[in-house]
Symmetry: C2
């Protein structure tokens, strides 16, 4: 029996609605942390992605964040102006532009990373670690399932 045959598909029971609201709540709550460093949420995502070496080029970051390629170029422009990242044309494949954090950018990344982690620790204070792990696992599983199924009927 399918889940939404047994439970009415209204917003309170909708994973989509709950995920959206949770995302907005955390984004709003984290905003002051980013504002302190003169960052936007999107810029912070890029900064942290570079910090954790999830990508070294514009296209890789765009894929990792499911962000538009063109928008990513402009995002990097801003961060280059602020002196957080550098661009360098790759020698092996001259299509790539290798991005790197400056010392200044790395410092900002570490500071905000720690503050954001502290926020999460506060929000999750009453949660058993197993419960957090399960939530993370469920979210990963859900995304995999959606991406595997592709566009719906």
């Amino acid at each position: 029996m399918a889940f939404y045959d047994s439970v009415p598909f209204e917003p309170d029971n909708s994973i989509g609605y709950q995920i959206k609201r949770a995302a907005q709540a955390m984004s709003a709550a984290l905003e002051p942390v980013f504002a302190d460093e003169g960052l936007t949420h999107a810029q912070w995502s890029v900064l942290v992605s570079l910090h954790f070496e999830r990508g070294r080029t514009c296209a890789e970051l765009a894929r990792d964040q499911a962000h538009d390629k063109g928008a990513m170029t402009r995002l990097i422009d801003q961060m280059e102006e602020k002196g957080w990242v550098t661009r360098e044309r790759a020698t092996d494949d001259r299509r790539h532009v290798i991005l790197a954090l400056t010392d200044k950018g790395e410092a900002v990344a570490q500071r905000t990373r720690d503050r954001v982690a502290a926020c999460w620790n506060g929000w999750l204070a009453g949660w058993e670690p197993e419960k957090v792990q399960q939530l993370l696992g469920d979210l990963r599983e859900l995304r995999t399932s959606i991406e595997f199924a592709g566009a719906c009927a």
Copy 2:
């Protein structure tokens, strides 16, 4: 012991990152359903909110969706042009404009609601109902916790 003291705070372990990616995946996967009816995702949210009577005015809907009030006005403009909703100035409190679905809007809401529910049923096909309920509960709990704590330190 705080969760992110025992686990490194990198994207794969970050609830924020996982939530964001899950939200984008489902939004992308549902897009064809909305496109078939000439809807955008945001318009669909409004349509369904009216369908489930989660609000009757622009301000109520904006709050329910954590959407900008001004943007909501323009969203309703579009939906009024398409003949899905009607506006009527309230008599008791003349500040309010009462929104209502037309028959056409109601039909679109029902059709898309059923198709979206079917998508979700497919994505959650292998999940125990208890597991889905737990995910919903966790998401609600998380949001409550974030909103209660307010902006972080």
